[in-house]
């Protein structure tokens, strides 16, 4: 199936969950990443159980501090 992850369309195996995708994409600080699927935020409690489907658009949103000191 094809997923669009962070704006890039790629081929992934069927049955992929959000948690598995986070692992596969080597997401930094995975405990604190916000995930959106098709412009809806996914609940962290559902990362293990949410199976992604063909055409889904996934974004990872990261905490970013910095700026002053």
């Amino acid at each position: 199936m094809k997923l669009t992850v962070a704006g890039n369309k790629k081929e992934y195996e069927e049955g992929l969950t959000i948690s598995k995708l986070i692992e596969l994409e080597k997401v930094e600080t995975p405990e604190y990443v916000t995930v959106s699927v098709n412009e809806e935020f996914a609940n962290r409690d559902d990362f293990d159980s949410t199976v992604l489907k063909d055409g889904d658009e996934i974004e990872f949103l990261y905490f970013m501090g910095g700026g002053s000191r």
């Binding site: 959106s36 905490f63 501090g65 910095g66 700026g67 002053s68 000191r69």
Partner: protein, 274 residues
Amino acid sequence: MAFTDEQLERYSRHIILKEIGVKGQKKLNNGKVLIIGAGGLGAPAAMYLAAAGVGTIGIVDADAVDLSNLQRQIIHTTNDIGKLKVESAKETMNAINPDITVNTYHEFVTSENINDLIKDYDFIIDGTDNFPAKFLINDACVMAGKPFSHAGIIRFKGQLMTVVPGEGPCYRCVFKNPPPKDAVPTCKQAGVIGAMGGVIGSLQAMEAVKYITGVGELLVGYLLTYDALSMEFHKIKLPPRGKGCAVCSDTPSITELIDYEQAACEWHPGDKNA
């Protein structure tokens, strides 16, 4: 009030833009922007807004200029080391444009002072370096109905979003709660490329200018990310405002400002809102 010849010349490149014109420049001259943090993001934002003739600019910062700041905080110079950042920033801004009023606030933002700080300003720029401050700015601005620009920078990456309360999602819609202390690296720990503050801080200044003049589309409902290594900007569309948000939904659970310093240590990733 009509422009003097000197003002007409100073702002001529703005005035010639059909979207700005004399009318837009007057709006800028009457505009009031508060910049929280006179560092990597606040420095370029403050300089561009001063140059643009934003009539009243407030700067909040509790720190003094340190040698390690100068690699990116271009509003301060080597001669300013040891000086209060707000004073050093004010000097540079007034040297760029003596026309403007710069108000300095030598303090950290807290739940006690933030409402007083933001109340007289039209637009707020979050140029802080820590999550307790970022959440405090978000919550205070949402509660007071003040538009603001959030941004963060680290290593070769940066991101920003504009929040107009009631019109789009807020920072807490996306990030829920501050991460525990030291769980997410800071610039001090991880480094940041100096020009990143220039890119993202200038974009924050751009949003302030657009808000004040009413020109163009604000970055409301989007998080714009920038990766300098791949040289890619990516605009992430966010879900609509307030869906279950603790502060900006129609039935908020957070109705008072929170100073997170303490609570951050007690936060666990398993928490419901994590």
